[in-house]
């Protein structure tokens, strides 16, 4: 998986020990680090907690993205911290009179063209928002639009067919209606993000959450286009703020403010429609269908031992979902489907950032 989603999965040096869950057991067994920063999206996270509902013998602290707070089981909460990345994008410049904070000189689009990264529906919604942010198509024509969007082949499926990539690019053209300069990774790395550079990452957060591309863009001073039409985010108080990259810090919060969305038991009832839709979309996404999570994220925490001692055979527990083989379309539904009435959700639900 890591190669398939490179370079978002690029390993970066950090004292926070960023890892993917599929690799956590091996890393933990070898490294015995006291804490790990989990880079995964919602789908592998759900698989991990489903197969490891309790920490068992595994004692390290896991740092999980704050957007997934509600999916951390109670048994884990004393061993889990929530993180978010903060950029000081306003700082580090000389004071210059007359510099317009909301000026848009260029828009840079990043992400992977892959069904498990961003579905066509989500792509379309994001592009509409980008056009709106730019002030409409006429204004967008005056803005330089660049993109680093490598194509990653995830194979043909009944869900996405074999023409996902062409449809993706066609959607880009049709929605934006401007010329796009496509970049190589080296171009993105060396590019100078002048004042007025705005960035958007196409990422639904199902497969991965901590993306190297996003961190790179933040470090270079890129400001991310606000996606949700919501009131300004309330100020978050962090227990700790740790610099991890130039001009990027990791804010860590230890206090859980949202209750657990209990997807582990058959009596699961979602607290609200938004959370249930988030779960529904994630478990019905390509990210869940494409990869063999049962094999990659087995149950291991209960009998975890460090390297040098025998590691107990992993016990695979299926989550409380009806899932399919990799190549078949699945409509993964929880055992209790009371909340899933015949009409499917009619509106796009913004997966919170």
């Amino acid at each position: 998986m890591f190669l398939n989603i490179w370079p978002v999965s690029e390993n970066y040096v950090s004292l926070l020990n960023p890892v993917f869950l599929a690799d956590l057991q091996t890393q933990a067994a070898r490294n015995t680090k006291p804490d790990y920063l989990i880079r995964d999206g919602l789908v592998p996270l759900i698989w991990f907690f489903t197969n490891n509902p309790e920490p068992g013998q595994f004692k390290a602290i896991l740092r999980i993205h704050a957007d997934f707070e509600q999916f951390v089981p109670p048994a884990w909460r004393s061993q889990v911290e929530l993180y978010d990345f903060i950029s000081d994008h306003g700082a580090g410049y000389l004071p210059s009179a007359g510099r317009n904070a909301s000026e848009i000189k260029q828009i840079i689009l990043i992400g992977l063209i892959a069904p498990s990264g961003c579905s066509l529906d989500r792509l379309h919604a994001d592009l509409e928002r980008i056009v709106e942010f730019a002030g409409g198509h006429e204004q967008l024509k005056k803005i330089k639009v660049r993109a680093f969007l490598p194509i990653r082949d995830e194979g043909a499926t009944i869900l996405n067919g074999s023409s996902f990539s062409p449809h993706y690019i066609l959607t880009l053209w049709r929605s934006l209606q401007v010329d796009i300069e496509f970049l190589e990774l080296e171009g993105l790395k060396w590019m100078y993000f002048e004042h007025g550079t705005w960035v958007h990452e196409f990422n639904e957060g199902h497969l991965y959450k901590d993306s190297y591309l996003r961190t790179l863009a933040l470090a270079k001073g890129g400001r991310f286009i606000p996606m949700a039409n919501s009131p300004s985010t309330p100020t978050v108080e962090y227990s700790q703020v740790i610099p991890i990259y130039p001009h990027v810090s990791c804010g860590i919060r230890r206090e859980f403010k949202k209750p657990f969305v209990d997807y582990l038991t058959e009596q699961w009832k979602p607290e609200n429609a938004e959370t249930s839709e988030t779960f529904y979309r994630a478990m019905n996404s390509s990210a869940n269908i494409k990869y063999p999570w049962a094999k990659w994220i087995p149950s291991w925490c209960k009998d975890f031992t460090v390297s040098g001692q025998e590691i107990a055979s992993p016990a695979v527990t299926e989550p409380q979902l009806e899932t399919s083989e990799v190549t078949e379309v699945a409509s993964a539904t929880p055992a209790s489907t009371d909340w899933l009435q015949p009409e499917a959700p009619s509106q796009e639900v913004e997966v919170s950032h």
């Binding site: 580090g92 610099p243 001009h247």
Partner: protein
């Protein structure tokens, strides 16, 4: 004279290369009485037709075909041009060589086959680079010339008002000592060593000093020594270095982002010294020191490659001697850096001193000045024979995974030492070099007095 310019339409990934090409282009277009036409190659164009482009150039009948940079996309065009011959014999090819010449050895070897027998000159940004390249040419003399990269776009001249304003923003008093480094924050630029040199200043000087570092981090490492750094690695090293410093030192170090050139100009006016300890393998010139020199900033630079050029602008020599270590390649003594910073901390320059020093640099590095330099470049060069075996060895040392050369030893007689010995200045007694520097300063002063007397005499006779 007709000059055909060849350049890339695609913007280079390196920001400084974009400024350099823009400056060279402007300098060529200032040529009086010369007709200059530019052809740009774009890798994005799927209908690239080198034969057609070569024919267009041939029909233009240029006296000189000048390549503004080095790019693999030039190859097919070069091949087509090498087959064409004007009435007068051969075209004259001029290549503006960059510091990464050695890293592109395999490209040059391929092109060598087409260049054989043609008139070729290499315009190099500094005497050190010119010597390096000349030493790589087989049985060919006088094939390299010096043509510094022009500083185009912004006017970097010293601005006392902006100095006062920005220093006030930084919370600096008039007597405070502001050191700046601008450029990439990377291993080979020795930014960490610069921090250590700053930390080693005496407490009295530190108490009134500030070190502002402006640039973007990269993780290039030191690939020529086989040192690669994973993403975020250099930032981790930076954090470690900062955390190892005493709090009193740490609070005097300010990290800024890479900034637009208009802001750099203000920063240079506000600063008291520009410090760069680069030992980058392709430091054939140095755009940041060039800009700082035009602001009249005293420079503390490693005596390495193109940096040595700028030290000639200064009345006193504050260059840091570099020697070649057999194990680690080029090295310098951090104490030497601290000593030079200390000397400059005790020096008080007036705005007039800054303007004068800036004028000296501007006279050598502005677009107009380089345009005059280009006019003096040879119209016809010697016939190209081939490159020396070292260039073929360089091609063998190229590592496709890292995209650079990897050297494993630096002892006398090694490929690295043979090639890069021209990047190091032989050590002289520092007192002697200061006297030499002062000598040249007084020579310039006398020259200035002579010129003003001459002008007065002309006015007197005219009246």
């Amino acid at each position: 004279m007709r000059i055909a310019l060849i350049s890339m339409n695609d913007e280079s990934y390196w920001r400084s290369c974009c400024f350099i090409t823009e400056g060279l282009r402007d300098a060529y277009k200032l040529q009086p009485r010369d007709r200059v036409v530019e052809w740009r190659i774009s890798t994005a164009k799927s209908h690239l037709n080198p034969a057609q482009m070569a024919k267009e150039i041939h029909n233009f009948k240029p006296h000189v075909i000048s390549f503004l940079d080095t790019h693999p996309a030039f190859g097919p065009l070069l091949f087509e041009l090498s087959k064409l011959k004007p009435r007068w014999g051969h075209y004259n090819f001029r290549f503006h060589a960059y510091g990464d010449f050695t890293c592109k050895a395999n490209l040059w070897i391929k092109w060598a086959a087409w260049l054989k027998g043609l008139n070729v000159t290499f315009a190099c940004a500094s005497p050190a680079q010119a010597r390096l390249l000349q030493n790589l040419l087989l049985e060919t003399q006088n094939a390299t010339e010096v043509c510094p990269f022009p500083v185009a776009g912004e006017d970097f001249s010293f601005d006392p008002l902006r100095r006062e304003s920005l220093r006030k923003t930084f919370g600096l008093k008039p007597d405070d000592f502001l050191i700046v480094y601008t450029g990439r924050l990377t291993l080979q630029k020795n930014v960490l060593a610069a921090l250590r040199a700053f930390a080693a200043l005496s407490p009295e000087i530190l108490a009134r000093s500030r070190f502002v570092i402006a640039g973007e981090f990269d993780d290039l490492g030191a690939p020529m020594r086989g040192i690669t750094i994973p993403p975020g690695g250099f930032f981790a090293l930076w954090q470690d270095e900062l955390n190892s410093l005493a709090p009193a030192v740490r609070e005097r170090i300010q990290l800024l982002r890479g900034m637009p050139r208009a802001d750099l100009k203000d920063l240079y006016s506000a600063a008291d010294v520009y410090l760069s300890l680069s030992l980058q393998h392709d430091e054939d010139f140095g755009m940041a020191p060039a800009e700082a020199a035009m602001a009249g900033l005293p420079l503390v630079l490693t005596k390495w490659g193109g940096y040595m050029t700028f030290l000639e602008f200064m009345p006193t020599d504050h260059g840091i001697h570099v020697h070649l270590s057999e194990n680690n390649g080029p090295e310098f003594d951090i104490a030497d850096v601290t000593r030079n910073l200390t000397l400059l901390a005790e020096q008080k320059l007036t705005p007039e001193d800054r303007r004068r020093a800036g004028a000296v640099a501007t006279a050598k590095l502005s677009v107009k000045s380089i345009a005059r330099n280009i006019k003096r470049l040879k119209r016809s060069g010697p016939q190209f024979r081939d490159f020396k075996p070292q260039v073929y060895e360089l091609a063998q040392l190229f590592d496709f995974k890292t995209g650079t050369l990897i050297f494993t030893n630096f002892h006398k007689g090694s490929t690295y030492e043979i090639i890069y010995r021209t990047y190091i200045e032989p050590k002289v007694d520092s007192a002697e070099s200061r006297i030499k520097g002062a000598h040249s300063f007084w020579n310039r002063k006398l020259e200035g007095i002579r010129q003003s007397l001459h002008q007065s005499a002309r006015r007197l006779f005219a009246s």
